[in-house]
Every structure is written in C-alpha cells, then in structure tokens.
Symmetry: C2
Subunit: 158 residues, 2 copies
C-alpha cells in the first residue's frame, strides 16, 4: 500500500517507472545535496546556502519543490530583531531517503574514491559498527545484487 | 580500500563528499535512466533512444560520460549491410549501481505511488520472494535507518 503523500495532481499518466517518478524530484540538480544538508542538521536557508555555495534563487526553487513534494516541511522561527523565517525539516518521506543517499555515498566511496579516503562512514549509531546498503529478502537476509530482478519490461506495463 | 577505477584526473581536490562525487556522474539529467535501460537489456544506441525518447546529442553525451567514468564499456557489433557500431554494457562499477536504482524505485513506490500500483517489483530471481533495499551491519543484520549515522561534518574533513 502507498504510505506516502501524493503530489497534487499525481495521476496515472505519471511515468510508470518509480525510478523516473523519484527523479522528477530528486534528479533536479542540487535536490539531493540540499537533502544531505538537512540530514546533517542544517535547517535554515542561510546555513544550507552557505554550506553548498548555491545561488539563492536556485536554493529557493529546490526547497519549494521538496516542500511541495512532501519531502520537507517547514517550521517558523524568529530570531531577536529579525522577521519570522522558515526552517526546513525532513518528513517521513524525506527521512526514507537516507538509504538513497547511503547508496550514492557507498558507490562514490567504492568507485569514485579520493586518495585521502572516504569523508564519512556509515555506522550503527549506538555501536559504531560499519553499515552498508544492500538488498534484503522478506526474512531479513542479504541478497546479492546479481540475484535480484527488479526491472520489468516497461513496454508491457505502461 | 578503493576498488574502483578512477576518472583520469580525479585528484584530492574533488568534492570530499562521496555523494557529491557520485552525483557528478549520476546527477546529470538522464544518466540514471540511461543506466536503467542498460540494466533492462537495451544495449544499442537506437534501442535506448527509442525507449527513452531522448535527443541523440543528449544520449551521446550521457553515454560518453558513463563510458569515461568507467560505468559502461563498449563492444563493437556489425549488422549485415551496416557500418560497425558500439553497444553499451555495464562494468563492475555500473553493476554496483543496481542498489542505487533499487533505492530510488522503492522510494518512488512508497512516496510517489501511482493509483495503478508499482510497475516493477524487486524480487529474488530464483525464488520470486520480495526484496527491499536497506542498511545492513557487518554481520548481515538489517539496521533501521534511524540507527544509522553516515554524514560526517564536512567542514571538519574537507
């Protein structure tokens, strides 16, 4: 069953492929890096902008898309002497993207390594043990990628 | 240890964040959809182009990037009466992207559902049992995403 909120107007003439529907939001340049910043605890426009070095108008557009898509929601805060501003927070759908970022991070570590090594490692918070991203079956056992089938023939399903 | 091939000129002034280095290749519009096509068994330029409805010059540029990045490699084939042409195949680094596509597909199914349901399901090839993408520890046990830490403070690492 769908657990997520739908974009207004998301109807059955959207792309049949879920990868493609995800990329409508996440494939926009900067979207995943904006989300990385929010996962890293940066919630204010100025913090995200300063960390990414992205133009204001682009960051506004990306945050707007992520909010409209139900990936981020906003809270209002006010610092002394300033006007009220919005801060940006992960929804449940947004939090579910950690595994997408984890898969990209792992691939970058393996296949686009830096001479000085990874800048971040995936670990269990409580124990510090290493964590990786992979496929699991319905009993929680890891399944090697070459035993997974996942790409239907779209021409038969569209 | 890095297991992947490096892009020519990939040096330590590349982005410190592995997510960002991955997106240098995969974040380009169409890159992941081109890879989806190759995973689905479409290896020829004309097949990929016809399936995606992408302009030739764009598809050429994406394939070139994916080959230069070591994600795809080429083979030469020749059909009767035609000139020799290139077909495109996943390298080991390319095959490792199945879990990235799987994570995007799963997220799209959950949070960008279509009324008619998913167009493709992730399954174990031999048994048909359902498969999902998740985090695993070093003993192969699933780790809930909220127990995973993976985003170092880049300011301390850059």
């Amino acid at each position: 069953m769908p657990t997520g909120r739908q974009l207004p107007g998301l109807v059955d003439d959207e792309p049949a492929c879920s990868i493609e529907r995800s990329l409508q939001i996440l494939g926009e340049r900067w979207s995943l890096l904006v989300l990385r910043e929010v996962f890293a605890g940066r919630h204010k426009f100025a913090e995200i902008q300063s960390s990414l070095g992205i133009a204001s108008n682009l960051l506004s557009a990306r945050l707007k898309l992520l909010v409209e898509s139900g990936v981020l929601d906003t809270q209002t805060y006010q610092e002394p002497g300033s006007r009220p501003r919005q801060s940006y927070h992960l929804t449940a759908a947004g939090s579910d993207l950690l595994v997408v970022l984890g898969a990209l991070q792992q691939w970058g570590d393996r296949h686009r390594p830096r001479p000085s090594g990874p800048s971040a490692l995936r670990r269990v918070r409580s124990t510090g043990r290493p964590v990786h991203v992979g496929f699991l079956d319905d009993e929680g056992r890891e399944v090697p990628a070459n035993e997974v089938t996942m790409l239907a023939d779209r021409s038969a399903k569209a």
